[in-house]
C-alpha cells in the first residue's frame, strides 16, 4: 500500500445489520432455542478440589421419574494423549480436554464435571444429580502457583514431566513446561546500568466474565448425525473438539452457531457441548444444557494467577541496559497457561539488547485456564510497565519519554525474534504525549499513570462467500461468529470492493455445513483475516461482473473497468455504464448466478500497540480507588467501522480496570471458590467508570488490502500497570499486587505512615 487509499465505505459508521434483532429481543443466543420434546440437562460437579473417584453409581438417578439419560466417563471412550491446535492457537492435548469435559478417575478442581443427566424439566434433572452416588478419596489440593512448584507439593498428574529442561527430569512435578527467551548478555548489561531495580509482582486468577453463560442444544437424527446449536467463538472448533472427545466422525456433527453473548477467549473450547450431544444420543431426544453463573465461575477457563520477578537496569539517558524476568503462570488443572505469549509480549514494545525471560507453566487445583483477551499479556505488562515507571521515577524522566527512548520502530527486532514491519508504536506514544489529557491539571488525591501494551494479532484460516441476489444486492457469508460488530465490518469491506452502499450488503454467519472451514473468532483476527477472504471473494465477483459486462457489450474483458458499482467500457465507444443491478438482471443469459468464494490462511497480521493514560483518585479513608479519566491510544491500522473499533478499546480498558481494582477469584484452603457469583466477583458497573476516550492512530498494515490490523486484544494489556502507576503518583505507594482492592490499598497507605 504505497499511498493512502481513498475509501467510500470502509471507515464509515453504518448501523450494524444484526442490530435490529438485538435491540428488539429477537436475536437468538445460546440458551434461546427450544425444540419439540426437548429435555433439560444438568451436570454433576465435583465437591472436592482434588480427589480420586473410586466409584460412581448413576442407577438411583435413573430410577427417578422423568430422567431419560445419565452419563459418566464410563460412557465415553478413553482417548490417548494427542496434541492438536487449540482454539487459542496454542497446543491442546485432547486427552486432557476429554478429562476436563468429564473427569475419569480423578477430579482436579472443585466443580470438575463427573456426570450429566437429562430429564423432562430442569428441576427433575437437578434432583437426579443429588441421587448419583460418587465415592471420593480426598487428596490435598494445591492452589498457589509458587507452592505448586515446591518439591513436596501434592501432584496433580503423576505422568507430568517438565518439558523444556535438558535432561528431562526423572520425577514428575506440577511444572508442565519451562521456556526461555534470551538475547545478549544480561550480566554485562546490568554492570553497565546506572540504576537497577528488582521487584516481585503477583496477579490473581480472573475470569473473562462474559454475561452469557455457556449453552448448547443438541439433537440427534436417526442416521446418527447430531446437530448442535451453541454459543461459541468457533463452531468449526466445537465440531472438531466434540468429534475428538466423543470419537465420532466430523460428518456426524453439525454445529450451528447462535448469537454469542461475549467470549473474550473464554468460548474457544468445549465444556457442555459434547455432554449435550452425548445426552441427546443416549436419550433419543433433543437436550438443552445451559450452565448457571456459578458453574461458569467454578468450572470454565479463567486466566492464570501469576507470580513474576523482574530485574531491570537502565543507563542515565534512559536506555534499558538489561532485563531479567521469571514468569510463573498457573495453568489450572491441565497444562497450557498463556505463559508463552506472556513471555513473548511482555517487553515486545522495546528495543532490548540484553534480556532473559524464563517462564514456567504450572498446574494447580483450579479450573483449566482458557484464553482471555491478549492471553498472558496483561499480567506480564503489569510487571514490565510498573518496573519501567519506577525506572523513570529514579531517573527523573517523563515516563512517556523513557518509553520513546526505547520504543521499537519499523525494522526493529522484536524481543521474540523477528523484525517488525510497519508498526505504529511511536505514533501512539507521541499522540499520548500531545493529548490534552496528559497535561490536564489534577485534583488532590489524584494521580496520573501511563502504560503501554502489545499484541501480535492472529491470521489463521478463513473462508468467505459472496453471493449476488437477483435485485443486485450482495450476501456475505462467513463462518466466524460475530462477537462485537464483525459482520458489519465484513459487509463494509465487500461494499467497498463492489462500490455499492453497505445497506445493500447482508452479512450472515453460517453453520459448519454451509460455509468452508473457519478458525475461531479470536486473536483479533476476524476483521483482518476473514476480511481478507471477503475481499478476495468480492474481487472474484467483480471479475465476473466485468466478464458479464464484456459479454453484453461484445467487447474484450480487458476493456471493462469496475468503478463505483458500475462497469465502464474503455474502448472509446460511448456506452452507458452497466450497473450491478443491470448485469445481475441479465445473468441468466450470460452464464447464470454470480457468486465468489475465497479460502485462505492469512499471513501478515499487523502487530498492535497501545499507550494508555489513566487518572485515579483515591479515597484515603476507605482505600477505594476511582478511575476518573482514561484515554486509550492505539494503532489500529485502518478502522473499518470506527465506532466498533472504539468499542473494542473501551471494553478492553473496562475489563483491565476491573482486573486492576476488584476482580479476583478467592479460594478457601480446600480449593472451594468463595466468590462464584457477580455479587462477590465484582466486574465494573456503569457507576464505577468514567467515559473512556479513545484515539485511533492509523498506520496501515501493508499486508491487508485495506490496511486492517487486529484491535481487540491490545486494550486489555496496559490498564493494570496504568492504574498502578497512577495510584503510585497519587499516593507515593507502589502496589505490586493486583487487584488493588480497598483493603489492600488501605494497608498500603497505612504502611506509608
Amino acid at each position: 500500500m504505497s499511498e493512502p487509499r481513498k475509501f467510500h465505505s470502509v471507515g464509515t459508521r453504518p448501523i450494524r445489520h444484526d442490530g435490529l434483532d438485538k435491540v428488539t429481543g429477537r436475536a437468538r443466543f445460546g440458551a434461546d432455542l427450544s425444540l419439540p420434546g426437548m429435555l433439560y440437562g444438568k451436570v454433576l460437579r465435583s465437591s472436592h478440589a482434588h480427589a480420586h473417584i473410586r466409584r460412581i453409581d448413576p442407577r438411583p438417578a435413573l430410577q427417578l421419574e422423568g430422567v431419560r439419560a445419565v452419563i459418566t466417563s464410563a460412557d465415553r471412550p478413553e482417548i490417548p494423549s494427542e496434541h492438536g491446535t487449540g482454539g487459542e492457537g496454542g497446543p491442546v492435548d485432547f486427552r486432557d480436554l476429554s478429562r476436563n469435559v468429564l473427569a475419569r478417575d480423578k477430579v482436579l478442581y472443585h466443580g470438575h464435571p463427573v456426570a450429566a443427566v437429562a430429564a423432562t424439566n430442569p428441576r427433575i434433572a437437578e434432583e437426579a444429580l443429588g441421587r448419583i452416588e460418587v465415592d471420593y478419596e480426598i487428596l490435598r489440593p494445591v492452589l498457589d502457583v509458587e507452592a505448586a512448584m515446591a518439591p513436596d507439593a501434592p501432584l496433580l498428574h503423576d505422568d507430568l514431566y517438565t518439558r523444556g529442561v535438558d535432561p528431562r527430569p526423572e520425577t514428575p512435578s506440577n511444572v508442565a513446561a519451562r521456556i526461555v527467551i534470551e538475547r545478549g548478555d544480561t550480566e554485562k548489561g546490568f554492570a553497565e546500568a546506572d540504576v537497577v531495580i528488582e521487584r516481585e509482582y503477583r496477579t490473581e486468577t480472573v475470569h473473562q466474565g462474559y454475561i452469557e453463560p455457556h449453552a448448547a442444544v443438541a439433537s440427534t437424527a436417526e442416521d446418527g448425525q447430531s446437530v448442535l446449536w451453541c454459543c461459541t467463538q468457533g463452531p468449526f472448533l466445537v465440531r472438531s473438539f466434540c468429534s475428538k472427545v466423543l470419537q465420532l466422525p466430523i460428518s456426524q456433527i453439525k454445529v450451528i452457531p447462535s448469537e454469542i453473548g461475549g467470549g473474550f477467549g473464554g468460548k474457544t473450547t468445549v465444556y457442555v457441548e459434547p455432554l449435550a450431544i452425548l445426552l441427546s444420543r443416549r436419550a433419543g431426544r433433543p437436550v438443552k444444557l445451559v450452565m448457571d453463573r456459578e458453574e461458569v465461575f467454578r468450572a470454565t477457563g479463567p486466566t492464570s494467577a501469576t507470580s513474576i520477578r523482574v530485574r531491570m537496569g537502565a543507563r542515565k539517558d534512559g536506555t534499558i541496559a538489561a532485563v531479567k524476568v521469571r514468569l510463573v503462570y498457573a495453568a489450572g488443572a491441565f497444562p497450557g497457561s498463556p505463559v508463552v505469549p506472556g513471555a513473548m509480549t511482555m517487553l515486545a514494545p522495546y528495543q532490548l539488547e540484553n534480556v532473559r525471560i524464563e517462564g514456567y507453566d504450572v498446574v494447580v487445583n483450579k479450573p483449566k485456564t482458557n484464553a482471555y483477551r491478549a492471553p498472558g499479556s496483561s499480567m506480564a505488562a503489569f510487571a514490565a510497565e510498573s518496573a519501567l515507571d519506577e525506572i523513570a521515577q529514579e531517573l527523573a524522566l517523563d515516563p512517556l519519554e523513557l518509553r520513546l527512548r526505547n520504543a521499537v520502530r519499523t525494522g526493529s527486532q522484536a524481543v521474540y525474534g523477528p523484525t517488525f514491519k510497519a508498526i505504529g508504536f511511536v505514533e501512539t506514544l507521541e499522540a499520548a504525549r500531545n493529548h490534552p489529557h496528559y497535561r490536564a491539571p489534577l485534583a488532590p488525591n489524584q494521580g496520573r499513570g501511563v502504560a503501554c501494551g502489545f499484541w501480535f494479532n492472529a491470521g489463521m484460516q478463513s473462508t468467505a462467500a459472496v453471493n449476488l441476489t437477483e435485485d443486485g444486492s450482495a450476501v456475505v457469508v462467513s463462518g466466524c461468529p460475530d462477537i462485537g460488530g464483525s459482520r458489519v465490518s465484513l459487509a463494509l469491506m465487500a461494499a467497498e470492493e463492489l462500490g455499492i452502499p453497505v445497506e445493500r450488503v447482508r452479512p450472515v454467519v453460517a453453520d459448519t455445513e454451509t460455509i468452508g472451514y473457519n478458525d475461531v473468532t479470536g486473536g483479533s483476527r476476524v476483521t483482518f483475516a476473514t476480511g481478507m477472504a471477503v475481499i478476495e471473494a468480492t474481487r472474484d465477483v467483480v471479475r465476473q461482473l466485468c466478464k458479464r459486462a464484456a459479454l453484453i457489450w461484445e467487447v474484450p474483458v480487458e476493456q471493462v473497468e469496475w468503478r463505483e458499482g458500475e462497469a465502464h467500457c474503455r474502448n472509446g465507444e460511448a456506452k452507458d455504464p452497466l450497473s450491478l443491478r443491470e448485469i445481475v438482471r441479465q445473468a441468466v443469459r450470460t452464464g447464470g448466478p454470480i457468486s465468489g468464494q475465497a479460502s485462505l490462511t492469512a499471513r501478515g497480521a499487523g502487530p498492535g500497540f497501545g499507550t494508555h493514560i489513566c487518572d485515579t483518585e483515591i479515597d484515603p479513608d476507605t482505600g477505594r480507588v476511582q478511575v476518573v479519566r482514561y484515554t486509550a491510544v492505539q494503532d489500529v491500522g485502518k478502522a473499518v467501522h470506527p465506532s466498533y473499533v472504539e468499542g473494542q478499546l473501551q471494553g478492553g480498558v473496562a475489563q483491565g480496570i476491573g482486573w486492576a481494582l476488584n476482580e479476583e477469584f478467592v479460594y478457601d484452603e480446600n480449593g472451594v471458590l468463595l466468590n462464584a457469583g457477580f455479587l462477590d466477583y465484582r466486574i465494573p458497573v456503569a457507576s464505577d467508570l468514567p467515559m473512556i476516550d479513545t484515539v485511533l492512530v492509523e498506520v496501515p498494515n501493508p499486508s491487508h488490502p485495506h490496511g486492517v490490523r487486529g484491535v481487540g486484544e491490545v486494550p486489555i494489556v496496559p490498564p493494570l500497570a496504568a492504574v498502578a502507576n497512577a495510584l503510585f503518583r497519587a499516593t507515593g505507594v507502589r502496589f505490586y499486587r493486583v487487584p488493588m482492592s480497598p483493603p489492600r490499598v488501605l494497608e498500603g497507605l497505612q504502611s506509608r505512615k
Partner: protein
C-alpha cells in the same frame, strides 16, 4: 407430581395465561414456556440485570420473581419496547451509537433505561450511570451506552412540546 398453577397476566399489553410449577421463576416461564427469549439469564441471582423487566411499571429481575407472583399483574419486556414498526428512541440511539457489541445485556439495559427516562426525562450522566449500575455489560465499558441514553433523552425531550 405437584399440580400446576394457573396464572393470568398481561404481557406487553396483551392478556396471557399460562400454567407453571410453583417453584418456576417468571424468567423461566417467559423464556421456556412463552418463548419470550428477549429477556436473558446472566446469573439467576439478581446480580446482572440481563433479565430486567417491569412488573406493574416497576423494574424487577425476572429471575427473582416466581411465576405465580405474576398473577393479575402487568409485565413489560424488551419485546414490548418498540411500538409496532417504530423503534423507541432508546433503541434507535443504541443502534446509531454502537451501544452494543455482543448485545446480550442490551434487552435488560433498554428496559432499565426506559424506566429511568420514564421517571426522569432529563437525567445527568451520573444519574444514568447509577440507574444502570444494576445492569452488567462486559463488552462496551458503558461509554457508548451512557451516551446513547443521554442522547435518547434529548431526542424524546425534543419530540414532546
Amino acid at each position: 407430581m405437584a399440580r400446576k398453577s394457573h396464572v393470568s397476566t398481561i404481557v406487553n399489553g396483551e392478556p396471557i395465561e399460562f400454567l407453571c410449577d410453583p417453584p418456576q421463576t417468571l424468567l423461566e416461564v417467559l423464556r421456556e414456556e412463552l418463548q419470550l427469549t428477549g429477556t436473558k439469564e446472566g446469573c439467576g441471582t439478581g446480580d446482572c440485570g440481563a433479565c430486567t423487566i417491569t412488573l406493574d411499571g416497576r423494574l424487577a429481575c425476572a429471575c427473582l420473581v416466581l411465576a405465580v407472583e405474576a398473577e393479575g399483574r402487568s409485565i413489560g419486556t424488551v419485546e414490548g419496547i418498540a411500538s409496532g414498526e417504530h423503534l423507541h428512541p432508546l433503541q434507535k440511539k443504541f443502534l446509531e451509537e454502537a451501544a452494543l457489541q455482543c448485545g446480550v445485556c442490551t434487552p435488560g439495559l433498554l428496559v432499565a433505561a426506559k424506566a429511568l427516562l420514564d421517571r426522569n426525562p432529563q437525567p445527568t450522566e451520573q444519574e444514568v450511570r447509577y440507574a444502570l449500575a444494576g445492569n452488567l455489560c462486559r463488552c462496551t465499558g458503558y461509554d457508548k451506552v451512557v451516551r446513547a441514553v443521554l442522547d435518547a433523552a434529548v431526542e424524546i425531550g425534543g419530540e414532546s412540546p
